[in-house]
């Protein structure tokens, strides 16, 4: 027998006794445990497994040798298809979270039709793959028992409905609460933060306000005699169906108010002439093609804004993560890409000046953004002045961060005489004597070699293509 590479359990896969996810030799596997045998068999025999994969609701998986199982008690080992990039729910815009919620309910509907049900409704079980949300937890289904309530109800409300309602009715930035309460927003908090008018919404009144009150009232419940035992709650199948239908309607009824934000209309405010824009697009395209020719496949568009350059990267053959710190820009980009059926670009809500940290158990359960950096090229256009002047980040630190993002960088230098920089400095003292092209070159020279540089026509800006030093 050949020596097997050691198995590494995925840090976030520890809650569910029915199995877990691990890697061997970089390949992702899932161990299914014997304790889950009956439900796993029903998942197959009911046809649900095939139906979910066929409908693109669940990632496909392939049988693997049980010899690969790292822990005792294994029933089977499967090798699920991997999604290209793992994102966290607080990195999604409103509509991404809403689509993930509706996909969860669609999976539940398909399960109900085959005598099965979801066992959990964690937003972390959903990922975006080829532009669409997809369920990645193959062990999320079990046989439904007669009279059983919908067990993931609380988790669904905390992971999906509460943040959606807060974004829709209070502020789009409220989704960031999921960064602190990564296992779902406490409903009592959501109820406090929601505007009073949401009490006139039957859906939010039921699933958030009354739900929060019931949680508070029954917080001290035990199995002691004389108390209503929550474990004895029963619900007929049709009633559970009605509850799920009502939840779906409530999710569908959440809409963002229509208004712009800081960046959403930014593209129209740039200092470029038409000739400058055409020149910049041509330069970026040429440089991306050069990186692609060197084998580049994945691009991160840092500060993607409207996603114009993400689209150019996708056209050049890259799978693109389009990062932006402004939720409205990400939302607009996602809606545009979704309508166009674009599959190669994933809009991601993340501020590169404050990248999402590792969170959860031991700070490793959900990986930080920089740990997930997998790009071959970072595209940082019209970004350096926002970091250096808008955020006071010294140029050498900007260079160091880029070296952690990708081995290739396409970055735009924006000089002090540029109107956008003058705007940034209009209300503050210029404490940036080192913000010069010479300073920029010197800072990046410690990490990168400059492969080429191209001045943008009709503009004082210059785009550099760099390769990290060996």
């Amino acid at each position: 027998m050949t020596e097997r590479p050691p198995a590494q359990r995925e840090p976030g896969s520890y809650r569910d006794p029915s199995g877990f996810v691990f890697r061997r030799d970089g390949v992702l596997y899932r161990q299914v445990n014997q304790v889950f045998a009956d439900d796993w068999a029903a998942f197959e025999s009911s046809g649900l497994h095939a139906a979910l994969v066929g409908a693109g609701v669940l990632v496909a998986d392939h049988p693997a040798s049980i010899e690969l199982a790292p822990e005792p008690g294994a029933l089977a080992v499967i090798r699920p298809d991997e999604v290209g990039f793992i994102s966290h729910p607080f990195e999604w815009s409103f509509s991404q979270l809403k689509d993930a919620a509706l996909l969860t309910l669609k999976a539940q509907t398909m399960a109900s039709e085959r005598g099965m049900t979801l066992r959990d409704a964690s937003a972390y079980n959903i990922q975006f793959h080829a532009g669409r949300p997809i369920l990645i937890d193959t062990l999320s289904f079990e046989r439904v028992r007669a009279g059983e309530p919908w067990k993931p109800y609380r988790q669904f409300c905390e992971h999906f409905l509460a943040p959606l309602a807060l974004m829709a009715h209070r502020d789009g930035r409220m989704g960031q609460l999921l960064r602190t309460w990564f296992d779902g927003i406490p409903l009592d908090l959501a109820a406090k933060l929601l505007p009073r008018r949401t009490r006139f919404s039957p859906g939010l009144t039921a699933h958030v306000h009354l739900h929060a009150r019931a949680q508070r009232r029954h917080a001290g419940d035990t199995d002691a005699p004389g108390r209503t035992a929550p474990k004895s709650v029963t619900m007929s199948d049709p009633r559970r169906q009605a509850l799920l239908d009502h939840l779906r309607r409530t999710v569908e009824g959440q809409h963002l108010p229509a208004h712009g934000t800081q960046w959403a209309d930014y593209a129209d405010q740039t200092s470029y002439s038409a000739a400058g824009t055409a020149s910049k697009e041509a330069i970026v395209q040429r440089m991306l093609e050069a990186v692609a020719a060197e084998g580049g496949k994945r691009a991160w568009d840092v500060g993607a804004n409207t996603g114009r350059y993400s689209a150019i990267a996708a056209e050049a053959g890259f799978d693109v993560i389009a990062l932006d710190g402004d939720w409205a820009a990400v939302e607009r980009d996602y809606l545009k890409l979704r309508a166009a059926g674009e599959t190669r670009i994933m809009p991601l809500l993340a501020d590169i000046a404050d990248p999402p940290p590792g969170i959860g158990w031991a700070n490793t359960e959900r990986a930080s953004l920089l740990q997930r950096a997998n790009a071959d090229v970072a595209v940082s256009l019209a970004l350096v002045h926002h970091l250096a002047i808008g955020r006071n980040v010294p140029l050498p630190m900007i260079a160091e961060l880029h070296a952690r993002l990708a081995p290739h960088v396409i970055i735009e230098w924006v000089p002090k005489e540029d109107p956008m920089v003058r705007h940034l400095l209009s209300a503050r003292e210029d404490v940036f004597p080192g913000y010069t092209m010479e300073g920029f070159r010197a800072a990046f020279a410690t990490q990168f070699e400059i492969v080429e540089e191209a001045p943008i026509e009709d503009s004082s800006r210059v785009i550099f293509r760099m390769r990290s030093l060996p």
């Binding site: 029954h218 419940d221 929550p230 474990k231 709650v233």
Partner: protein, 67 residues
């Protein structure tokens, strides 16, 4: 007898309130379904219809269809 087998905590209050909510919302749910099936029998293609019945027909629709 205990009916709940779950590795996540479904929450005592969450179990109790969902049973109450389900009881309430099942009334319009079945009413709507009854109207829909009656309409379906009367007219093969309902022109427009109330927004409620359209949404109910979308039960299995893909998430993108919701916007």
């Amino acid at each position: 007898m205990s009916l709940i087998f779950a590795y996540i905590d479904p929450g005592a209050g969450s179990l109790i309130i969902q049973a109450l909510i389900a009881a309430v919302v099942s009334v319009p749910f079945f009413f709507r379904n009854a109207i829909r099936s009656t309409l379906g029998r009367l007219r093969r293609k309902p022109a427009g219809g109330a927004s409620g019945s359209i949404a109910a027909e979308d039960a299995g629709a893909t998430p993108t269809d919701s916007e």
